[in-house]
Subunit: 255 residues, 2 copies
């Protein structure tokens, strides 16, 4: 009923069995080739034919390793998340806020290295290393004694905040990278033509105020990473307010 999650593919670790014609290619190689393609040109330039060509292999041979294109993408995501699995855990003596902020930053950087993850249409797959990251995100909030459902909510929201911000900012950098135009150049020229050809200052008063106050300067918004740190800090402040007044821990309830 629900095997669009590729659970067997992700979790079933069947050994190769030894018999029969040996495969010219391992699953890891296929996944790595897919990641290379996606890193270079985004998810929509990842075609089975291209990956097969990169590996010097027939197209249909890939399907002995990955079951479908969607399955390949899911495996690629798992592989990408594996890059950070070991660095996520909360360290000895690390304050919970530092841990949460560091994890957020780690995820942000991961999206920076593999922006195509953000183009994945569905929810993040239930993959081993994706779960590892989610588990790490829950930890700081559980440790400060937030109730279970509040911890879950807080962690999910933090993750969504990072993901949403990454989508908003990275996608433009992608566009820049594809067209080869420099970021400042691209941004200013686009804004210039847009601003004095179409923009109606009376229709968008807030943006107009921001524009003249310099709030849209490229280095303030997307180019710098400041937006992530600021947003995460604000969100964690909100969580801190919620946990401090009640004491150190207000009855987690649960193992």
């Amino acid at each position: 009923m629900a095997d669009e999650h590729h659970l067997e593919l992700l979790w079933g670790g069947e050994p190769p069995s030894g018999r029969g014609r040996p495969a010219r290619t391992t699953r890891e190689q296929v996944v790595a080739a897919g990641i290379a393609r996606a890193d270079a040109g985004g998810l929509h330039e990842l075609s089975m034919r291209q990956v097969a060509a990169d590996l010097g292999v027939g197209v249909m041979s890939l399907y002995t390793q990955v079951e479908s294109r969607d399955g390949l993408v899911v495996l690629m995501i798992d592989r990408a998340f594996a890059e950070v699995t070991d660095t996520l855990g909360r360290r000895d003596g690390e304050p919970w806020r530092d841990a949460a902020a560091r994890q957020a930053r780690t995820l942000w950087d991961l999206y920076g290295r593999h922006p195509w993850i953000l183009d994945h249409g569905h929810r993040m797959p239930m993959a081993p290393h994706v779960l590892a990251l989610e588990d790490a995100f829950y930890t700081p909030f559980l440790d400060i004694g937030l109730p279970a459902s509040a911890s879950a909510n807080a962690a999910i929201a933090l993750r969504s905040l990072v993901t949403g911000l990454a989508r908003d900012s990275r996608s433009e950098q992608d566009q820049v990278r594809r067209t080869g135009v420099g970021y400042a150049e691209y941004w200013s020229s686009l804004n210039a033509v847009f601003w004095d050809r179409y923009f109606d200052e009376e229709r968008y008063p807030a943006m107009t105020r921001l524009w003249y106050a310099g709030g849209f300067a490229a280095e303030d918004i997307l180019a710098g990473e400041g937006i992530l740190e600021r947003a995460v800090a604000a969100y964690l402040d909100g969580i801190a307010v919620r946990v401090q007044p009640g004491g150190t821990g207000q009855g987690t309830g649960g193992a």
Copy 2:
């Protein structure tokens, strides 16, 4: 250099000129048909041939109205955002936090009605009614005297938070709707099979704690809208902390 933004399509209001063979179809009709298709089956079931068939029109005739499939999607997004343009503005006497929270909730509901917006690969288009929403999001933060770049950051982060949360939660509801299985049923069966076939409690200690504490009960996480309100409230608390201590307004600087 940059006409993948469809600026002409979105902002250029050329009148139909009168002469020549009259069109059998208006742009609004095409966009409406596209929205109907996408509402029913998601963006990946939106094909030009389908839309044309729905309108009883040849496929290529659509291209006199929309320039490309991507242009159609962009117009559909603009049209969807137009649904809420009039309800966004801050009301008389409305506290800034209420305004921001209401706007966030409005966007959330919009995503609920048209989940396919979240499947759009690129950044939100520079469309009239999308800008209207962005403008509204900036307003509360500007009004409390946050500096220009901080206002921009805060509004973008709030928007990204809503978008990220919507993507995380809605996509699963989508899946449920497509397969026709009830939500609770689907979730519990998936979790049951996953939990006791693959899950390793030692590998994911935080999730294990949450699981046994009931933090993953469906009604607490995705099904309820509580997660949005909680996350937005926490984030706005963080912003409030940031503006209160400095006084009522700490020198916006700008028009």
